[in-house]
Amino acid sequence: MKNLLEHTGIEPGRLHFSWISSAESTKFVDVVTKITDEVKTLDPANKKYVKTEPKVD
């Protein structure tokens, strides 16, 4: 999944996979914090795959 998204131009770093058990709440918090911090450092101009109001002719 990650490969094809990146292959079609989604910036690496915007899709993340982690294995977290339902018991690992602290790990969940750590991972989410880490990812959101990382994503914030990415260039907002590359925020491409976001749908806004439909753009049609």
């Binding site: 999944m1 990650k2 490969n3 094809l4 998204l5 990146e6 292959h7 079609t8 131009g9 989604i10 910036e11 690496p12 993340h16 996979f17 982690s18 294995w19 590359n46 491409k48 795959y49 976001v50 749908k51 439909p54 753009k55 049609v56 002719d57």
Partner: protein, 315 residues
């Protein structure tokens, strides 16, 4: 390949007469150049209409979905691989089928050929490995190899993998082809270039869903684009929705696609839809050593688990 026609007719008549099948699915000559029509014959008379040439690029396995009864089907390499996939996915039983295998030397690309000429092509004739294309005031003979559909040009499974009878001698498989050259080209791009490349690729899509409907893998009773509760994807020409359709359709073909090229062949806008599926095929080959539809006895990688499956992506 035109000489297969007689043999196909002979086999089809025989299996119908013997009652081995209720119908034989094949092609009949189309009404426009380079366009044969999928057709079925349930009688010896109807078999007479059957034809085989280098314009039989549609995947006939697509016509097997949910069929009852005993069916004869003409299958080139890719069709046979999709028949195997159908059997593996329990869409049809192997013993319902009488597979008439056709060793294939490739199908020609009507998009490419139409684009080669400014004028309308009125006639395309085939003689051995030479194709003669003619229209009002022009006629040109070209080697078939130069006119092959892109998937056929890099095909390494021309012979049927599963059949009951062959309509011709097995052909040599192509060696020394780089199956994934088009993927490597995109892989070398930057993220921005990739995005723009696929934007341009899909810019003409009209969402007719011919790619999906010609694909033997796309047999879901309700496709995700047609679901309304929840509605996964918008229905307009918004580029985000168009891309979502193509991306998700490709994902649904992961580990199942045989690169038969039907999606590209049928696209009225000539979009290179295989650019999506080809990447997944390459990943499947590299990560799992898998090519779809080669064996009835092996489960596909996405419905099996092995302790050593690659998982570098999980962090």
């Amino acid at each position: 390949m035109t000489d297969y026609t007689d043999k196909i007719k002979e086999i089809a008549k025989r299996v119908l007469a013997e009652g081995k099948v209720d119908m034989v699915i094949g092609f009949r000559a189309g009404t426009v150049p380079m366009m044969n029509q999928p057709h079925y014959a349930a009688s010896a008379e109807a078999v007479e209409e059957m034809i085989w040439d280098s314009n039989c690029g549609l995947n006939l396995a697509n016509y097997l979905t949910d069929k009852k009864g005993k069916i004869g089907i003409i299958a080139k390499g890719c069709d046979s691989r999709n028949i195997v996939t159908h059997v593996i996915e329990n869409k049809i039983k192997r013993d319902q089928l009488y597979i008439i295998g056709v060793p294939c030397t490739g199908m020609i690309d009507h998009h490419k050929i139409n684009a080669m000429f400014d004028k309308e092509i009125l006639k395309v004739e085939e003689s051995g490995d030479q194709i003669t294309i003619s229209g009002s005031g022009f006629s040109e003979t070209v080697s078939k190899q130069d006119l092959l559909a892109e998937n056929c040009a890099v095909c390494t499974h021309r012979n049927p993998v599963e059949y009951d009878e062959l309509a011709g001698e097995l052909v040599d498989e192509q060696a020394d082809v780089d199956q994934y050259a088009s993927v490597s080209k995109v892989e070398a791009m930057t993220a921005d270039e990739k995005w723009d490349y696929f934007d341009d690729l899909l810019s003409t899509c009209i969402r007719c869903y011919a790619c999906r409907n010609a694909c033997p893998l796309c047999y879901c009773p309700t496709c995700f684009v047609d679901e309304s509760r929840p509605q996964w994807v918008g229905k307009s020409q918004d580029p985000t929705d168009v891309r979502t359709f193509h991306l998700l359709r490709a994902y649904h073909c992961a580990g199942r696609c045989t690169d038969c090229g039907a999606c590209e062949r049928v696209c009225p806008m000539g979009i290179k839809i295989r650019e999506f599926t080809k990447k997944l095929n390459k990943d499947c080959k590299e990560l799992y050593g898998w090519e779809a539809g080669l064996s009835l006895d092996q489960r596909p990688p996405l419905d099996t688990f092995k302790a050593d499956d690659p998982e570098e992506f999980i962090k």
